[in-house]
């Protein structure tokens, strides 16, 4: 290939690249400052375990901080033509109960009295969640893909929603052998060990799938999440807990619309956002929007573990920018008393003379900066 044609070709590539890149940029309209204070109901009625319903209020988009929780409300689960069960506020805005005596053949609704107004959901049928067949994972070229497989022999479920919780072992970059206590440098006591911690995270995206178009009610290897190959979650040992909820068709549609509105957008062929209509209405003022959809189902869970040894050998988390400082004995107080720096080990000269201690910042030596030292009950 002559220099000229090569040059021309490269120019064309650049041209095309130029057309296709840098299309998206942040945008914040100014018109969105109108006050709003709508009731938000989240959670579901659990037919085989404890139920938790969270009540909060909407905020303006620009508002900083978390939303206001709706406290001192009355929340009950009512059986159609039957008894009602009261939920108790166990934390601000969170109303819980133990396992409710829910019968699969009956219909139930949620009734709320909050801010002087009455709210109620539609009566909802109870969905039985089938067991999760397996949670599998596959190392792909660019990361670790987790998938869920499940099925319903009765072909009854059809609509599925998942949530997950991930937990992983986290080790500090340096192992701290010493601790600086009350102006004294001493060997770190085992109960003060800050090398090994656990971090956790829960799903934020809406994970739903349906099998309406399949001849059998089978979900095969539905992709739940993908961790990048260099994720620090995979540095040691990783665990994923998947919770599966059977959905009614209406509930599925609500989640689907919510997903479309808030996640699946940004392409050229976007659907228009739709105003969500949940199944909760304000009885006092029917025009007032209420956000949320109440579904009743059982929950199925499954947990798996992935060890680093099972992963491709080339996978490595990016190394942290950690440096070690040498601290002379006279400087120990100045250096370590704030707790910002953590002593690591003793330093000796080549001749064996004691020089002082090495130290590193807490982000490099204290695993508690990112995680918790409490070992989860389920950890193997």
């Amino acid at each position: 290939m002559s220099f000229y044609t090569k040059y021309l070709r490269n120019t064309l590539f650049l041209y095309f690249l130029f057309l296709l890149t840098s299309c998206e940029e942040p945008f914040t309209p100014e018109v969105l400052e109108r006050p709003n204070n709508f009731l938000v109901v989240s959670g579901f009625i659990n037919s085989n375990g404890p139920t938790a319903i969270k009540l909060s209020r909407t905020q303006n988009l620009s508002e900083e901080g978390g939303p206001a929780m709706e406290t001192r409300a009355t929340v009950t689960v009512a059986e159609e033509n039957g008894p009602t069960y009261l939920l108790r506020e166990t934390a601000a805005g969170t109303y819980t109960s133990g396992r409710l005596p829910i019968q699969n053949s009956k219909r139930y609704r949620l009734v709320i009295k909050a801010g002087g107004k009455d709210y109620a959901s539609d009566y909802v049928e109870v969905k039985q969640t089938p067991v999760i067949d397996k949670i599998s994972w596959q190392a792909e070229s660019d990361g670790l893909q987790f998938m869920v497989t499940t099925h319903d022999d009765q072909n009854n479920t059809r609509f599925y929603r998942w949530e997950y919780e991930e937990t992983w072992e986290y080790r500090a970059y340096y192992y701290s052998e010493y601790e600086y206590v009350n102006g004294e440098m001493q060997y770190r006591r085992p109960e003060n060990d800050i090398y090994l911690c656990w971090q956790n995270n829960s799903s934020k995206n809406i994970l739903i799938n349906n099998t309406v178009k399949l001849s059998q009610d089978v979900v095969s290897n539905y992709p739940l999440l993908k961790l990048p190959a260099n994720s620090d979650k995979l540095a040691n040992k990783y665990s994923l807990l998947v919770k599966q909820y059977a959905q009614s068709k209406e509930s599925y549609e609500y989640w689907d619309a919510l997903k479309k509105n808030t996640e699946n957008i940004g392409t050229l062929f976007d659907p228009l956002p739709t105003q969500l209509t949940g199944n909760i209405t304000c009885l006092t003022d029917p025009a007032e929007p209420v956000i949320g959809f109440i579904n009743i189902s059982s929950v199925e869970e499954k947990r798996i573990f992935v060890n680093k040894s099972e992963l491709p050998t080339g996978w490595r988390p990016p190394s942290m920018h950690c440096t070690i400082d040498t601290v002379a004995v006279k400087d120990l107080k100045e250096h370590f008393s704030s707790g910002f720096n953590i002593p690591v080990s003793m330093i000796y000269s080549d001749m064996g003379a004691f020089l002082g201690y090495s130290g590193a910042s807490s982000t490099c030596a204290d695993c508690r900066v990112y995680g918790t030292k409490t070992k989860p009950d389920f950890w193997q």
Binding site: L17, F18, Q59, N60, S220, N221, E263, G266, Q275
Partner: protein, 930 residues
């Protein structure tokens, strides 16, 4: 060629003349007996030729209106001839050789007029021809049955002059380009006193009823030299006119429609764009784009950049009838709408009707966009094309039988696919996008009364974004037209057309879910149109049409053995849409004319099909299905019908200003289903049926038109009010694809639209172009609880295309014959959007709550484009003509939002705007023609 024949004939005549005197009286007179009643002159001549040795020489057109009735026994020829030609302008001479020469007007001349052979030359070069003979001496044409009028200086005599001639006679014929033989469309053909005018139709045909006598026929049209023909009309006759292309105006004229059509024409809300105008508007990828230019016209909007879906006067994108050589095109775009489906090299003109839609058209609520392709060159072979950064084009054309049959073939393809594959970034290299289209057309002139047109079109698009689904869509169109001229005043066009549109989405990533999703629709039309120029006051159009639809609304089929996908095939939809129409354009006086039309359409949704019946007076949902009714093949399961009124009137206030008004009713039986704002390939079409009613729209429009400075500046102001009933809007969360009961996801909405459009055009001069401003609103309401949930509390809300203010400037400046530049500016109010108004915590994530539908707007849109055209030299005779176009699209690099959206990322609500052409895009295109 005809010139040569003429000269040879005249030469022969003059030679004979020389012999006349020297050999006089050399043969005995033959006596003739005849008994003729109302015989044509041809018959008369034949009769004599069989009985004697005399031979007749004449131009058939000079005698075509002469009828001979006589009863003679044993009379000499001279006496018979005198009797036959009595009272006409015809003269005769009998040579000693037995040749009978019939001439018109003056006595037979023994010698050619002085300067005879030079005359052609002097008139062509534009100097005044010598007074005298050239304009007063009639000119005898050769053996052709029709005249081809080429010269401005000659007097063309039509019919036979009789002394007592008076009243009116009709003149008809075709107007053609002298160089290529292509018909000239939309040209004004008129005389000035009294002002009698007509416009050539899409075949270049005109028919004009004029008072008998001499006239100066004036011809004005886009891209041809303004010219005139001297005629002497004595009886009904034909005159084909060949006119010269205006080479000088190659890049000068922007929109030069019939110069005073704005004021004098009957049409309102109609725009005709010539290819020349279209070519000057810069586009994003450097390629001339028809739809992109149509979008700059007042009243025509699009949802966003990169989408060719048109919204005309507040209508939705499916309310436009797009005809490509009379075949319906369902998806007029390529490559996500960045290119329009029409190859610019083959298109001759584009006509958009947006308010007064002729009765001939029906089936869509908002507009008719007619794209007409060029005829192939009837005289010589040629090729043209262009090389751009993303596409290349090639067109071949030429005669098959010279002056009778021609062909034109055009192809276009893109190399974007190849480019994407070479890109280093993975998401690009796994993507692909390609398209091509092919056009072919053959015209055959059987004889002067019958012409056949064959046209075919094929386009295919394929694209894959990322590595998941592969999309493709195709358009196939074919049409056959037979134009038959019964006589001067009546002609008919019989059209058969076939259209096919289909798309497929193929997804094979997960073997368990691997499937193929397809949609496909076919349409066959048969249409007969008649055009009757009753007299100088009335022009009648009437005809009938029938369309058979056959739609496969969707099918999902598994791919591969592992796939668990259940085949899901929606029932076919069939329907027959038929219409009858009649219209009359009545020119009451030179100031006042009216157009009255009535179209009656009947729609039958046909079986075989199973139809759900729903509980009455509640919204249709799955839970309100009462029963399933099965209809057999060909059985009508629903019938809708109704009249469509078309009325318009023009009143001329002065010679340069007029007011016009129109009222229109349209009915539409086919609906597009799409829950995205722009036209995307996964949009499907749905026929009206027992559960989906047809849409009906009424529009009333009023306009004021004025021309300034000898018709070089046109001002038009048009206001309209439109009401639409039963067009489809979507319920929240509608599912459009593979829905067996789509009626549960859509709702019949009502809409209204109104606006004022102001346009100022300057047609000629170094600086030309147009400026337009539009104020318009378009509103929708869904408040019938028996149909669907109520949206926005049952109030009218702005539709997706409601952009109140719109300003467009299209300008062109010619520095010299070879350099010209174009400058465009467009501004419009941002389109409505449903914005998030609140955020809330749901589980672990922050989510957003949306406002009422379309309560807010995206930022305003504006864009500046600039282009420079460089022509090769203007030698008429050279191997190839070439030109370069350098253009910059979006000169200021404004990041106009294509869409604005909010996304929950890592639990936080973030707003984004997506702009497609967010920086200046330079392009260069090379065009050639030889």
């Amino acid at each position: 060629m005809t010139q040569l024949y003429r000269k040879a004939f005249l030469l022969a005549v003059s030679l004979l003349c020389c012999l006349l005197h020297s050999h006089a009286q050399t043969r005995a007179e033959q006596l003739i007996t005849l008994d003729l009643k109302d015989a044509s002159f041809e018959k008369f001549a034949q009769e004599i030729e069989t009985k004697t040795t005399y031979r007749f020489y004449y131009d058939p057109t000079t005698v075509d209106s002469l009828l001979v009735s006589m009863q003679v026994t044993q009379k000499p020829l001279k006496e018979i001839m005198e009797q036959a030609l009595a009272g006409t302008e015809l003269k005769f001479a009998i040579t000693p050789q037995g040749a009978v020469l019939i001439t018109q007007g003056k006595e037979f001349m023994a010698n050619l007029p002085e300067n005879f052979f030079n005359r052609e030359k002097t008139t062509a070069s534009g100097t005044t021809s010598p007074a005298g003979t050239s304009t007063t001496t009639p000119y005898m044409a050769g053996g052709n049955s029709k005249k081809k009028a080429v010269s401005e200086a000659k007097l063309y005599v039509i019919g036979v002059k009789r002394d007592n001639a008076s009243g009116n006679a009709n003149l008809a014929g075709h107007l053609r380009d002298a160089k290529t033989g292509e018909p000239v469309i939309g040209a004004s053909v008129y005389i000035q006193s009294p002002l009698l005018a007509t416009t050539t139709d899409q075949y270049g045909y005109y028919s004009l009823t004029l008072p008998v006598g001499e006239h100066e026929l004036i011809i004005r049209a886009i891209g041809i030299k303004n010219s005139k023909r001297r005629i002497a009309l004595y009886s009904n006759g034909k005159l084909d006119i060949e006119v010269e292309e205006d080479v000088r105006s190659l890049k000068e004229v922007l929109v030069e429609a019939e110069k005073d059509r704005n004021v004098a024409g009957m049409q309102m809300g109609m725009e005709r764009l010539d290819m020349r105008a279209i070519k000057q508007v810069p586009t994003a990828f450097g390629e001339t784009d028809i739809l992109r230019v149509v979008l700059t016209l007042p009243g025509v909007k699009s949802v966003g950049e990169g989408s060719t879906g048109m919204n005309v006067r507040g209508g939705s994108t499916d309310q436009n009838l797009i005809l490509f050589n009379d075949a319906t095109v369902y998806n007029p775009s390529h490559l996500f709408g960045f290119f329009s489906a029409f190859n610019p090299d083959i298109v001759k003109s584009v006509e958009l009707h947006k308010s007064n839609i002729p009765a001939r058209y029906g089936g869509r609520l908002s507009s008719v966009l007619e794209v007409i392709t060029r005829d192939g060159n009837k005289k010589k072979f040629g090729a043209s094309g262009g090389i751009g950064l993303l596409t290349s084009r090639l067109t071949l054309e030429g005669p098959i039988i010279k002056d009778k049959t021609s062909f034109i073939i055009a192809g276009r393809s893109t190399y974007s696919d190849w480019l994407l594959k070479k890109l280093p970034k993975e998401s690009f290299s796994k993507s692909s996008a390609s398209f091509y289209d092919l056009n072919a057309q053959v015209n055959h002139e059987i004889n002067s009364e019958n012409t056949l047109y064959f046209s075919g079109y094929l386009s295919k698009d394929k694209f894959q974004l990322g590595s998941d689904s592969l999309y493709n869509f195709t358009n196939h169109n074919a049409s056959v037209k037979w134009k038959h001229i019964f006589h001067n005043k009546l002609y008919s066009v019989l059209t058969g057309a076939y259209s096919h549109y289909g798309y497929g989405v193929n997804s094979e990533k997960n073997p368990v879910n691997a499937a193929n999703l397809t949609f496909d629709m076919k349409q066959a039309n048969l249409q007969a149109d008649f055009n009757y120029f009753l007299n100088s006051k009335h022009t009648l159009d009437f005809g009938a049409s029938s369309i058979l639809y056959n739609i496969s609304p969707g099918s999902l089929t598994p791919v591969g053995g592992e796939s668990l996908v259940m085949p899901d095939i929606l029932q076919r939809e069939k329907a027959l849409e038929s219409a009858l129409y009649v219209s009359d354009q009545f020119d009451i006086s030179p100031r006042l004319s009216v157009y009255v039309g009535l179209r009656y359409s009947i729609f039958n949704a046909l079986g075989p099909r199973e139809v759900y019946t729903y509980a009455p007076n509640v919204p249709k949902t799955e839970s309100t299905i009462l029963d399933t009714v099965s209809y057999g093949g060909g059985k009508a399961l629903a019938t809708y019908q109704g009249p469509e009124y078309r009325f318009s009137a023009r009143f001329g206030l002065t010679d340069h200003s007029s007011v016009k008004m129109s009222f229109n009713r349209m009915r539409q039986y086919i609906h597009m289903l799409s829950n995205t704002a722009s036209m995307s390939p996964t949009d499907t079409w749905k026929l009206s049926d027992a559960n989906v009613k047809p849409q009906v729209g009424d529009q009333i429009a009023l306009g004021y038109y004025q021309n300034f400075r000898a018709n070089t500046i046109e001002l038009s102001v048009e206001g309209y009010y439109k009401k639409m009933k039963d067009f489809l809007d979507y319920r929240n969360g509608a599912n459009i694809i593979l829905n067996h009961h789509i009626e549960t996801d859509v709702a019949n909405a009502e809409g209204k639209a109104y606006g004022v459009e102001v346009m100022l055009k300057k047609l000629t001069g170094k600086l030309n172009g147009w400026v337009s401003y539009t104020y318009s609103r378009t509103l929708v309401r869904l408040n019938n609880t028996q149909v669907s949930e109520v949206i926005n509390k049952g109030e009218f809300y702005p539709s997706n295309v409601d952009k109140p203010h719109d300003f467009t400037l299209i300008s062109n400046y010619r520095f010299s014959q070879r350099f010209s530049s174009s400058f465009n500016f467009t501004y419009s109010t941002g389109r409505p959007i449903t914005l998030p108004i609140a955020k809330y915590q749901d589980g672990n994530a922050t989510r957003i709550f949306y406002s009422d539908r379309n309560e807010y707007r995206v930022p305003d849109y504006y864009r500046v484009d600039f282009a420079l055209n460089i022509e090769g030299n203007h030698k008429v005779q050279k191997l190839a003509h070439s030109s370069w176009t350098l253009a910059v699209y979006n000169l200021t690099g404004r990041k106009n939002p294509y869409s604005v959206y909010f996304r929950t990322e890592e639990g936080k609500v973030k707003g984004y705007k997506l702009s497609i052409f967010g920086q200046p895009i330079p392009t260069i295109t090379y065009n050639f023609k030889f």
